[in-house]
């Protein structure tokens, strides 16, 4: 059975996607993670003062920057821990729109992210006709929800991976997943 190539996608490629990325990687999935936002935004001292970085800025640099700014604050709100986790997974956040890699399944964690992803896929030139299953699970952007959602993402990815042909079974997979988790993801299919 061919191993599918999974992509975990959120807005800033820090919390939700990285949580799922880390978990899927631990379970030997072929996985990548991305963000679709314009910049990487991390919570700051207030809602109006986020910490903004460019995609590609390494997690290490982000962590050092935040430690320098207010170590206790970012320790308290879990940002530094999150960045440490991310550093163990990969070097830096990646932007979906800039990625040329082709995946079989992209899992998004917010409907808006899914829209961005689909819009990007629609705008791309279709050359290989390779299919991309885009699945969205709405997850709030906080550590707890991300931690809760990652196992569910793993479960869904496992189901898709186990299917002989996900195109044939996608609706059954969604039904089954809903029955197990109570969560009904939305999906669409794009082409490379």
């Amino acid at each position: 059975m061919n191993r599918l190539n999974f992509a975990m996608v959120c807005a800033s490629n820090n919390n939700r996607s990285m949580e799922a990325h880390a978990l899927l990687e631990q379970n030997n999935f072929q996985v990548g993670s991305f963000g679709v936002g314009g910049h990487v935004k991390l919570p700051g001292p207030s809602a109006k003062e986020p910490n903004v970085y460019k995609f590609g800025t390494s997690y290490q640099i982000m962590m050092e920057d935040l430690e320098k700014k207010d170590r206790s604050l970012y320790t308290r709100n879990g940002i530094l821990n999150m960045l440490r986790r991310n550093m163990a997974v990969k070097l830096a956040p990646q932007r979906w729109q800039d990625s040329k890699e082709q995946f079989d399944v992209a899992m998004t964690f917010q409907e808006r992210v899914m829209e961005h992803l689909v819009e990007d896929m629609n705008g791309r030139e279709q050359t290989s006709m390779r299919r991309l299953l885009v699945v969205n699970m709405d997850v709030k952007d906080n550590h707890e929800e991300a931690a809760n959602a990652a196992p569910q993402a793993l479960l869904l990815c496992q189901m898709i991976q186990d299917a002989e042909d996900w195109e044939d079974d996608i609706d059954e997979i969604m039904d089954k997943f809903e029955a197990q988790t109570g969560r009904r993801p939305l999906y669409t299919i794009c082409f490379y």
Binding site: N122, E125, M129, R131, R184, Y187, T188, I189
Partner: protein, 1437 residues
């Protein structure tokens, strides 16, 4: 790639060896590895071996897994590397075999995926076969390809196919549709797998392929995709297939917007289908949003529907956001909706630098075509003459259009329908409509047209135009390059014909097509080259002479087809066509009904309004005879001028002032628009240069004489009146020849517009704007711009309401209900009207929002031009448009606003009256009323009816008046609508003022309270100030007020009359004027009509109905107050009560210094005092404030004028009531001196008097004491005033605790008690205090009683009894005082006032108790005991 022979040999051998090894290998993966080596050789080292080895590779399909899968990949790669017939053919065989045999879905999917590439290659080879010569191999290959395509398409819905196979099949079909509907410019980057699709062109002639065939296949394939969006699939809980179908459809839409019309409705229908799959629903929303964002003009007509669908799906906010974005862009002028927009997915549009020329897409097209064509074809194409794009906005006549027929033919021949569409959009709709009707006989049959839609319609039309015009205009058409026109009807190649002999002839009339089968003609180019003109078979029919019946039938058919073609982007064009049709409507037949239905169903969004105007103006021009008095050219000038200003969007043209003309000709006589001799009267797009030329009648006459009648008239059985013989002679030999003559006139002055007619040049700017507006959205914009250009004010609806601020408070309180102050001021929320308004926005972002058709609000009118009293000399600042009150049409809205009222009213009447009478019982009147009746069905907030009434050329009465009257009586909403219409007629159509005025006047005395209020508001604030209207309004109001003089209705009786009494009562006496009546309340009479309350309420309502208007007019009109007072004096009690209620509001409106009011105070009619006093009291009821001490203060004391007037009134009539309102302004001395006159006042009035007197007065404490003292010791009573009255008065004063407190009373008692003798009313005062103020001052007064003992009070008989009464009432506080009396005196007192006896036992007990501090002699005790024992018999007398 060339290889060395040795290398070739070695490669060949190696390939053979590898192939053998592959076959001999036992395991599938080993075979694949070997095959990969083979593919390396074939693809990169020796491509020439591909043809040889490909059959061997195909045979490998029988090998075990995974060989077939790799074979598919290899075949695809081989086809890419060498797109040769043999290779493709084998690849096709391979794919077909896999599709039919393969069980494994992966292999099928791979085969379908590879088929896309193979299909592209096959299509390219097949397309080029037309140039390289036909071969049986190519034909065979193409058939195999078609078979493969059919197989794949069948898989989309095959029950045996897995979903994944279906998905790939859908993707294949999507790509096939895109390929078959290829654009002429590539939008993919070099190297793209799809690039080749975009470049495939089908050259002409082609042995077995045609653009039409390809198009049909594309449509069929697209239809198959759309089938997947229908309910059975949509409702399937498994949604992946539907999702992919949706995405495929949207992908096609994005890349081929011209297909929007074919499938968008299916997508929208899908949005209404309920599906249980949330993902499907979500994808549908995404797809619709994507389409909503699509910038292509073809998507514009769908936006609203898409937005609606999204709204229904809960995405309304996103839809609105997108719509707002488009609106913003349109406003900024960056990207007007519907105009040329950037191609979708611009980022993927990367034209090949080799094919994209510097001239943009157009040159890119040609370059692409040339690159795809063989050398010979390229030579032909390059031989074409390069023409500059003509400026079609300058086309004003069919002759102009004919000059560009060659260009049209070229575009058509090239299949450049996009450009053709754009060009058609820039041609004024009126010219296009003329062309259509002049070529009606050539319009293809419905069956032929039925196969086309959208862009095809314009293509067909262009071909028709080309056929009709191409042979006559000077056509410098180049040789056309045979194109690949994806959606063109397949042309039929015909041998060349000779050049047309009528190349220079003007336009209309049936074309002289020679021969029935002549489907192709040749048009002579300017350079003598022959241009192949391809004629659709449907267009090649021989024109037939149209009889009356045939013409009617054809028009009916045309109407249906035009109406049904609602998707065409050329909406103005449709409107113009329908406008032409409207002219042909007779009184018989159903064409008129159909048109009317169309107008009403499409009134706000589809140009129905414009069509209605077309129709009305045309009928007006036909039906009203206008005789231009030769002796009065000035009047004609005025009439002409008025026409230009009446409806600036509809610029009629006036005739030669020296010749008698018909109405039709009066409106149709453009020297520059010979073919529009009639159309100028019919359509709103007549050129501005004609209007501009009106200031120079001589030149205009010259043009008119050359113009001749319209070609339209030649086939019209309902022609307008013909010109006179003399004019005919000048115009030309016949109507058939007129076009030639006109064209000659036009062609003889090619540059004459600029050189010989400076006035035309002046008008050109306006014309340009006009045409530009027409091209983009309607007559409204053009009208607005024209108005602005003329310096004319816009029609404003609520400008009148804007001035209501000052009177609203007054008159709104006049209303008996809490109705909204002005419901007519509501914003125009009618969506239909908003839609119509929205059309104007793109170009009118800076327009003043005050036109009633463009704004629901009613802003202030724009500043007027300085008005001159000389109406004939009223020329706006442009100097081009003269306006006159004596216009040919009486609907001179804008003009009227600029005219002095007096001049307007005095001069407009007779002509308007004459025309109105002439239009009675005519088709014009019928149509106008029918339109109005139809609009009655719309929501009342819609402004359509008002627009029609304002812009119609004439309002025949009494039909319009009757209609408005009926409308007013419908309900309150309709009543408001009728009012609004009538008010606008009065404001903007002064000639119809007097006809419209009764509608508002009747409403002002009507039974509907809200409508009545609105009418009163309008009359008071806007109509009354207009000269000429005030007398009528006043007389009307007075006549209704007089209805109050009648005897009171039975309801006035306090007791309900018996039924017999009511039946026996005589009928209500008629009013003085028998015609003056009030409308009965439409609400049905209550069953309990003898219930006095019900009847009284109805009587009050009726009285209010009669007098409200008059009352509202009083503040604005001097002298009416006296009339009101007189009527009050004569009115019945119920009416009086109503008037008094209204009087409060009236007083506020009048204000206390109003001279009329002051005069009325002094000299009021007898019997009117209650009303007058009620008003004065209301006026002096100033709002109260509290000072720092919490006391109420009056900010504004009565003005001195009012005080003087009231004093005068008092002195004249000795009516102290008139002092009450001004008591606050009187000094203390005056008050004390006038006090005797105040005593007789009624209690309520006295209360009012003291309220005003004491409020806000610093010396009020002293004054209160003084007044009490003064009143008590008053000796000389006023005439007619008795002592009991004085007692009563004292008691009432004592009861006014607000102003006479305990302290005041005590002070007054002290002062009075010290007097000797005591005042007569002293004891009465004390008794009154005890009675009115219980538990107040009892101890204090008991002490005073004791003090009076020392004064031997029993010696004063008048006070002694009072003393005893008071002692009785003060008991037991008075017991010590009583015990201080001498025994004999007390004994005598008991005799004098037996009422004291019941208190004796208690008095005895008190005297014997320890509480008693008084030394009581024993005789007193004995006397009291004896009185007590015998007192049981004593009763107070």
């Amino acid at each position: 790639m060339k290889q060395e022979p040795e290398q070739d040999v070695s490669q060949h051998d190696l390939a053979v060896q590898l192939l053998n090894d592959c076959k001999l290998a036992s395991e599938g993966p080993d075979k694949v590895d070997i095959l990969k080596q083979l593919s390396e050789i074939l693809l990169f080292r020796a491509q020439h071996l591909i043809e040889e080895f490909v059959p061997e590779i195909v045979e490998l399909l029988t090998e075990p897994k995974p060989v077939p899968l790799y074979v598919v990949e290899l075949m695809e790669a081989l086809v890419k590397a060498k797109a040769h017939v043999t290779v493709i053919d084998h690849a096709l065989i391979c794919m077909q075999s896999l599709l039919s045999d393969a069980i494994v879905a992966n292999v099928r999917k791979a085969a379908i995926l590879a088929s896309v590439t193979i299909f592209k290659a096959a299509f390219g080879v097949a397309a080029h076969a037309g140039t390289s010569g036909s071969s049986s191999e190519v034909v065979k290959m193409w058939k195999a390809m078609c078979s493969l395509k059919a197989s794949i398409q069948a898989l989309m819905t095959s029950p045996t196919a897995s979903d994944s196979v279906k998905h790939m099949a859908m993707k294949f079909v999507e790509q096939a549709v895109l390929m078959y509907s290829a654009e002429e410019h590539p939008f993919l980057s070099a190297g793209s797998s799809m690039q080749m699709l975009q470049l495939v062109k089908i050259p002409r002639p082609h042995p077995f392929l045609s653009a039409a065939q390809v198009t049909q296949e594309a449509i069929a394939d697209f239809g198959a995709l759309l089938e997947l969006l229908k309910p059975p699939q949509m409702q399937d809980p498994k949604g992946s297939t539907v999702i992919l179908a949706m995405k495929a459809v949207v992908n096609i839409f994005q890349r081929r917007p011209r297909l929007l019309g074919r499938g968008m409705s299916a997508l929208l229908t899908a949005s209404t289908t309920k599906t249980v799959n949330a993902s499907v629903q979500n994808n549908l929303k995404t797809c619709l949003l994507t389409m909503l964002k699509h910038p292509d003009p073809a998507a514009v007509p769908w936006r609203k529907k898409i937005a609606d669908a999204l709204t229904n799906m809960g995405e309304g906010e996103a839809a609105k956001t997108e719509l707002r974005r488009f609106e913003r862009q349109a406003r900024k002028g960056r990207q007007p909706p519907g105009s040329a927009a950037p191609e979708p997915d611009a980022k993927r549009m990367k034209p090949d630098p080799e094919t994209a020329g510097p001239a943009g897409p157009s040159s890119s097209v040609h370059a692409t075509q040339q690159s795809a064509q063989p050398a010979g074809q390229q030579t032909t194409a390059s031989a074409g003459i390069k023409l500059e794009d003509p400026d079609m906005t300058r086309v004003t006549t069919l002759a102009d259009l004919a000059r560009h027929a060659g260009y049209i033919a070229r575009l058509h021949a090239q299949g450049d329908y996009d450009k053709l569409d754009q060009m058609l959009k820039t041609i004024p709709a009126g010219v296009l409509a003329d062309a259509v009707f002049d070529n009606m006989a050539r319009i293809p049959s419905p069956e032929a047209v039925g196969a086309h839609s959208g862009a095809q319609s314009s293509a067909l039309f262009a071909r028709m135009l080309k056929q009709g015009l191409g042979g006559r205009g000077p056509s410098p058409a180049p040789a056309a390059t045979p194109p690949h026109s994806a959606f063109a009807t397949p042309p039929q190649e015909q041998p060349p014909a000779k050049p047309s002999a009528k190349a220079q002839s003007p336009i209309p009339g049936p074309p002289a097509v020679k021969g029935e089968g002549q489907a192709q003609a040749m048009v002579a180019s300017g350079q003598g080259q022959l241009v192949k003109r391809v004629v659709d078979p449907a267009l090649a029919q021989r024109p037939k002479a149209l009889g009356l019946e045939a013409a009617g039938g054809m028009r009916q058919l045309a109407l249906q087809r035009i109406v049904q073609a609602s998707r065409t982007p050329l909406r103005d064009f449709r409107a113009a066509l329908l406008g032409r049709l409207a002219v042909k409507v007779g009184e018989k037949g159903s064409l008129g009904d159909d048109l009317l239905d169309h107008i009403l169903s499409d009134f706000n969004s589809g140009g129905g309004y414009e069509l209605a105007m077309h129709w009305l103006f045309s009928l007006f021009a036909q039906q009203i005879p206008v005789q231009a008095p030769s002796s009065a050219p000035e009047q004609l000038q005025q009439a002409r001028a008025s026409l230009s200003g009446t409806f600036s969007g509809f610029h009629p043209v006036l005739p030669d002032p020296q010749a008698p003309v018909s109405g039709s000709e009066a409106l149709a006589g453009s020297g520059h628009m010979p073919s529009q001799a009639l159309s100028t009267a019919q359509e709103p797009h007549a050129s501005m240069d004609v209007v501009a030329s009106q200031s120079q009648p001589g030149e205009h006459a010259q043009h008119s004489s050359k113009a001749g009648p319209s070609p339209m008239e030649t086939d019209s059985p309902e022609q307008a009146p013909r010109p006179s013989d003399s004019k005919e002679a000048a115009a030309g030999p016949s109507s058939q020849d007129a076009p030639e003559a006109s064209a000659h006139a036009a062609s003889s002055k090619p540059a004459g517009k600029a050189n010989e007619h400076p006035e035309v040049v002046k008008g050109q700017t306006a014309e340009d704007v006009q045409h530009k507006l027409e091209g983009q959205g309607g007559a409204d914009q053009a009208q607005t711009v024209a108005r602005r250009e003329q310096g004319l004010p816009m029609q404003d609806t609520l400008a009148e309401a804007g001035g209501l601020e000052g009177e609203e408070a007054a008159v709104s309180s006049v209303a008996d209900s809490n109705a909204p102050a002005n419901s007519s001021r509501r914003p125009n929320s009618a969506p239909a009207a908003a839609e119509r308004t929205k059309q104007a926005e793109p170009l009118l972002d800076d327009r003043p929002l005050d036109h009633p058709r463009q704004s629901g609000s009613e802003p202030e009118p724009v500043p007027r031009q300085p008005a001159s009293t000389d109406a004939a000399a009223m020329v706006p600042h442009t100097g081009e448009l003269a306006v006159s009150p004596a216009g040919l049409m009486d609907g001179i809205g804008d003009v009227a606003e600029d005219m002095p009222e007096a001049a307007m009213v005095s001069s407009e009447g007779p002509l308007a009256e004459q025309r109105s009478l002439a239009l009675q019982d005519t088709l014009y009147e019928t149509v106008l009323i029918a339109i109005l009746e139809g609009l009655r069905e719309m929501v009342p907030e819609d402004n359509g009816m008002q627009d029609i009434l304002l812009d119609a050329p004439c309002l025949p009465h009494p039909a319009v008046l009757n209609f408005l009257g009926r409308l007013r009586k419908d309900d309150e909403a309709r009543g408001s609508q009728a009012l609004k219409c009538a008010a606008h007629i009065i404001k903007f159509r002064p000639a119809n003022r007097m006809e419209a005025l009764p509608v508002i006047l009747d409403a002002a005395v009507g039974p509907q309270p809200q409508v009545r209020l609105q009418a009163i508001l309008r009359i008071g604030s806007h109509l009354l100030p207009k000269p000429g209207l005030a007398p009528t309004i006043k007389a009307f109001a007075a006549s209704r007020l007089k209805l109050l003089h009648q005897s009171p209705p039975p309801a006035a009786a306090d007791q309900p009359p018996a039924a017999a009494e009511l039946a026996a009562q005589p009928a209500k006496p008629p009013a003085e004027d028998a015609d003056v009546t009030l409308e009965p309340d439409p609400t049905p009479a209550h069953a309990d009509e003898y219930n006095p309350q019900e009847v009284r309420a109805r009587a009050e309502a009726r009285a209010r109905q009669a007098c409200s208007l008059y009352v509202s007019l009083v503040p604005r009109t001097t002298g009416m107050l006296q009339g009101l007072l007189q009527s009050y004096a004569l009115a019945d009690p119920i009416s009086r009560k109503v008037l008094e209620q209204l009087g409060d509001s009236l007083a506020v409106a009048l204000k206390s210094t109003n001279p009329e009011l002051l005069a009325a105070v002094v000299g009021h009619p007898a019997g009117s005092e209650p009303l007058l006093l009620s008003m004065l009291v209301k006026l002096t009821e100033a709002p109260l404030k509290k000072d720092r001490d919490g006391n109420q203060t009056q900010d504004h004391p009565p003005p001195s004028e009012l005080v003087v007037a009231c004093k005068d009134a008092f002195h004249l009539g000795q009516d102290s009531n008139f002092l009450v309102p001004v008591m606050g302004a009187l000094s203390s001395q005056e008050v004390l001196s006038l006090l005797p006159h105040l005593i007789p006042l009624e209690t309520a009035r006295l209360q009012q008097a003291f309220d005003r007197l004491m409020r806000n007065r610093p010396d009020r404490d002293d004054l209160a004491v003084d007044m009490l003292v003064k009143l008590v010791k008053l000796d000389g009573l006023p005439k007619g005033f008795s002592r009991p009255d004085q007692r009563e008065c004292v008691a009432r004063m004592v009861g006014l605790s607000a102003w006479f407190g305990a302290e005041h009373l005590a002070k007054a008692i002290n002062q009075l008690a010290q007097m000797n003798p005591l005042p007569v009313m002293f004891m009465r005062l004390l008794i009154g205090i005890v009675q009115k103020r219980p538990r107040t001052l009892h101890v204090f007064m008991a002490d005073k009683l004791a003090g009076l003992i020392s004064q031997n009070i029993w010696t004063q008989p008048s006070h002694w009894k009072g003393w005893l009464i008071l002692a009785t009432q003060l008991a037991p506080a008075s017991y010590p005082t009583l015990l201080q009396l001498p025994v004999s005196i007390l004994h005598g007192g008991l005799t004098t006032y037996p009422g004291l006896k019941p208190k004796v036992p208690e008095l005895v007990r008190y005297a014997q108790s320890a509480e008693c501090k008084v030394v009581v002699p024993s005789q007193m005790i004995h006397m009291l005991d004896s009185q007590a024992s015998s007192g049981s018999a004593g009763r107070p007398d």
